[in-house]
């Protein structure tokens, strides 16, 4: 039997009622291993205005490169109650921030290894279907150069939109989303 998948729709302007009761800002809370980091930034629309009604979801492996789900059959250890999942709305200035641990590397297609990264799922009023993008890390130059997904971005000028920039001397990264125009974030069809 083949069914047609239900059509997507926007979260609308009142997304907070439905999607913030189970929000998760502090992914690092349950981690016992790995470098604790903070990632923050802003979301901008095509006119450069902040988006105050977006919701971001994050999904990542633990410090050993293992996802906390039975769907990941790799022979690597789980880290206690660490889920690797985050969900946060943007504030009135389009800002978001969350704490986590830097993920380990996970396998890619064939025999490749992916650079450490976080999947980001983007929802907002005005968006009829969520978008997927990724956060890589600016201090992983060598791994990023060999990453099979970053390698799909032919325009080298767009790659920085996928890379969180580490603040000198701090375990903090800055990563913004731009929906359109100069520096438009790379989104993936997957």
């Amino acid at each position: 039997m083949t069914l047609m998948p239900t059509a997507s729709s926007t979260v609308g302007p009142y997304l907070h009622i439905g999607l913030t009761p189970l929000q998760v800002h502090d992914i690092a809370k349950d981690a016992s291993k790995g470098e604790k980091i903070v990632i923050s930034g802003r979301v901008f629309d095509g006119e450069g205005q902040p988006v105050p009604d977006a919701l971001l979801e994050f999904w990542q492996a633990n410090a050993d490169g293992k996802y906390a789900t039975p769907e990941d059959s790799q022979d690597k250890p789980l880290d206690g109650k660490f889920t690797g999942f985050g969900r946060i709305p943007t504030d009135k200035e389009g800002r978001y921030s969350f704490s986590t641990v830097k993920p380990g590397a996970v396998p890619g297609p064939g025999n490749t290894l992916q650079a450490p990264h976080i999947l980001v799922c983007v929802f907002m009023r005005g968006m009829l279907r969520h978008l997927y993008t990724r956060i890589y890390f600016s201090d992983e130059t060598a791994a990023n150069a060999n990453d099979p997904v970053l390698g799909l971005v032919e325009d080298a000028g767009r790659k920085p939109t996928l890379i969180g920039e580490r603040t000198a001397g701090k375990a903090e990264y800055r990563w913004d989303i731009r929906m359109q125009g100069e520096g438009e974030t790379v989104f993936f069809d997957c």
């Binding site: 039997m1 069914l3 239900t6 009142y14 999904w59 799922c121």
Partner: protein, 236 residues
């Protein structure tokens, strides 16, 4: 990893485009550049086991969250969460949110001049059972005006958020009601060009689940992306 079976991609017209000009908010929020096609890796083929431990037995009854009974027409909303191969999606979190019977949300952004109901928040959650079934008790939401165009009204709807087994099955959508006269005028409902796909967002009145002297039943099945029959690596 090379053995992983990915999820099917949607058929043309069955999912909305990012830019749908009649829905004005999409104009400055849709990517201008084409999306970059990528294979589904372990990252995309996994997803959170999320929220199950935070769902209480009354969280699926939106009429029991306050001291008194909310105003409006009580309804029982039930159905199944399936994948496109027809398999039930068990033990999966469902979150819903909706306006009250007057078409008003308890949200600072909602300035519609209709009364709030102190006995209705309009948020519920549940987890599907072993056969993918879910059930909510709620109030039928009202239609409400919005400023998209002159005399714009949203049809009655309930927002749904669904996970399934991976981030590829993630879905946020809206459920509508049969016979709603506002449906032909709504740019959000009509953003899907395939009529079958559009109609799949409309629930059915369900006499079987209607409870005598208490509430009308509505039925709505939700279908998430399903896995492809063949490993992705073998496909050209």
């Amino acid at each position: 990893m090379s053995e992983a079976i990915g999820y099917k991609r949607p058929a043309a017209g069955t999912q909305p485009n990012y830019l749908h000009a009649p829905y004005q908010s999409s104009i400055k929020r849709a990517p201008n550049k084409p999306l970059i096609r990528m294979p589904q890796t372990l990252t995309e083929l996994t997803g959170p086991v999320y929220g199950h431990d935070r769902v209480g037995p009354l969280d699926n009854d939106l009429t029991k969250q306050h001291a008194g009974e909310p105003l409006g027409e009580r309804m029982i909303l039930s159905g199944r969460l399936l994948d496109e191969n027809g398999r039930p999606v068990p033990h999966s979190l469902i979150e819903i949110w909706q306006a009250n019977a007057c078409g008003r949300y308890p949200h600072p952004g909602d300035q519609h001049d209709a009364p709030l109901d102190p006995n209705f928040t309009g948020y519920g959650r549940t987890v599907t059972d072993s056969e993918g079934r879910y059930r909510f008790v709620t109030i039928k939401p009202g239609a409400y005006p919005w400023r998209n165009h002159h005399n714009a009204w949203r049809p009655q709807h309930i927002h749904f958020s669904l996970f399934g087994p991976s981030f590829m099955t993630r879905l946020v959508t809206q459920m509508y009601f049969p016979g709603d006269p506002l449906l032909p005028y709504d740019p959000i409902f009509n953003c899907v060009t395939d009529q079958r796909a559009r109609d799949s967002m409309i629930s059915k009145f369900d006499f079987e689940t209607t409870i005598p002297e208490f509430a009308l039943g509505y039925h709505w099945d939700i279908v998430l992306r399903g896995r492809d029959a063949t490993p992705m690596e073998n496909k050209k």
